[in-house]
């Protein structure tokens, strides 16, 4: 059975990609950003996911203003790298996992999430920058990646709650896939930033830290944030943090925070990164101890009755 072992969030600032592509990662400005991902690279090298589900947003690359799908799942065998106006990024083609993607599509749609399915889709920095941050710059990405593009370009994006629930549906789909696969879900974008209009440059670190805290401990609270509040507090483009909630929804309610990194700025954006791991099931380790509270209470009542009787 396939299972989701962990979730990763990461900003996907295009300038980070440009710094990698132009070999500027050693500059002090960029070093500060890349150093924050060193431990993450070690972690994922050990975790060795078989598949990554990459939740990101397309930045007018695969989708223009002609068609604006709210959730678009990549079901292709591979995804070409988009030319975003300065030539395609020199990164490996993204290989998909069409079988698992098709299974997820079927399961999730029958669970009433009306996905758009893409048998051909170019992917942009939104997906490839987090892959670089986690895997470095290999000749081939170490595992297949299933892209899930979420509309955050045209208002309104899906609500945080909808995203969280979609994460749960994706988890259910993954767990009903027969092959033994370790899956890691990436939620990308954010954190606070605004790149348009006179308010461009907005950063709200206080909001970001609270968001990270809640992402680990109290994600339900984040699902109640309105778009207005997100845009007001975290910038017009900060609204893309709803995508992190798809990742979070796909994990257990209680997770272990493996690692966290936050820095300001990368170009125009606050960079936030967190790794959350599902706990190894207690039932496997100590089957005898795990008795639901309800049963315990029932057993106690029976015991009392026996004594009285």
């Amino acid at each position: 059975m396939a299972r989701i072992i962990a979730g990763v969030t990461s900003s996907h600032v295009p300038a980070i990609g440009a710094a990698i592509d132009n070999h500027r990662t050693g500059e002090p400005y960029w070093q500060r950003v890349f150093e924050g991902f060193e431990r993450s690279k070690e972690w994922i090298a050990k975790a060795k996911p078989d598949v990554v589900i990459g939740v990101y947003n397309d930045h007018a690359s695969a989708f223009s203003v002609e068609i604006i799908p709210t959730f678009a799942l990549g079901t292709a065998a591979e995804f070409a790298i988009a030319d975003e106006g300065w030539g395609p990024r020199p990164v490996p083609v993204v290989k998909g996992h069409p079988e698992l993607a098709a299974h997820i599509a079927q399961s999730v749609i029958l669970d009433e999430f009306d996905l758009t399915l893409c048998n051909k889709m170019e992917v942009d920095h939104g997906l490839t920058v987090p892959l670089n941050l986690m895997f470095g710059t290999p000749k081939e990405w170490p595992c297949p990646v299933i892209p899930l593009a979420v509309n955050v370009v045209q208002y309104p994006p899906p609500t945080g709650n909808r995203c969280f629930m979609l994460g749960k549906a994706i988890r259910k789909a993954v767990e009903s896939y027969p092959e033994d696969l370790k899956v890691v879900v990436f939620g990308t974008g954010g954190m606070s930033h605004q790149i348009s209009g006179q308010r461009a440059g907005l950063i709200n670190s206080k909001f970001d830290h609270a968001f990270l805290d809640n992402l680990t401990k109290n994600p339900k609270k984040l699902t109640r944030l309105s778009h207005l509040e997100l845009m007001r507090e975290a910038g017009a483009e900060g609204v893309e943090m709803v995508m992190w909630l798809i990742m979070r929804g796909a994990l257990d309610d209680k997770v272990d925070e493996v690692y966290r990194f936050y820095t300001v700025p990368a170009s125009n954006t606050a960079v936030g990164h967190i790794i959350l791991a599902n706990r190894v099931k207690a039932s496997r380790k100590s089957a005898g101890k795990k008795v639901p509270a309800k049963l315990k209470r029932a057993a106690a009542r029976q015991k009392i009755q026996r004594i009285r009787g």
């Binding site: 007018a60 975003e84 106006g85 300065w86 045209q154 208002y155 790149i195 209009g197 006179q198 170009s267």
Partner: protein, 156 residues
């Protein structure tokens, strides 16, 4: 009722911000499709060779056309442009994104870069035009609408 009712959009209260919604998407359709065309190298070359001629392919309004030719980025947003699309125009010109951000915020690229290094534009005083969401409001001391003062210039 003869007059068209105007939909009040809560997000219009955010200063210095043009939320790209379905109305703006429709209004800016051709502007954004022009930007989208710049994803192809041959189109970038053709545009650079003769900007006005290249723009003739797109049914833009005179205002949109002028905003593109003069690289007025906020005006493009106001006329239905979306930043992820207009950024392609900036990329075609060979500018880093911070150049566009500096233009939109009315500062130099160096000043904008310095602002970001200092931790970015603070949210306090920049939450709303009406000032109603400022948390640190104290009686008798109005919150400072920093970007709002610039935002007020915005039309539409």
């Amino acid at each position: 009722m003869t007059a068209k009712k105007i939909v009040v959009k809560d997000y219009d209260d955010i200063p210095g911000t043009y939320v790209f919604d379905a109305d703006r998407s429709r209004q800016g359709y051709h502007l954004n499709m022009f930007c989208m065309s710049l994803m192809k190298a041959e189109n970038r070359k053709a545009f650079k060779a003769d900007e006005a001629k290249y723009l003739d392919q797109f049914p833009l309004t005179p205002d949109q056309r002028e905003a593109i030719l003069k690289r007025r980025y906020n005006r493009m947003l106001e006329l239905g442009g979306n930043i992820y699309f207009t950024a392609k125009l900036g990329a075609t010109d060979g500018h880093p994104f911070q150049h566009l951000a500096a233009l939109m915020t009315g500062s130099t690229q160096q000043d904008y870069a310095d602002l970001m290094l200092r931790g970015g534009r603070p949210v306090d005083g920049n939450r709303s035009r009406s000032g109603q969401f400022e948390k640190s409001k104290t009686p008798g001391k109005a919150s400072k609408p920093k970007a709002a003062s610039k935002g007020k210039k915005r039309r539409g």
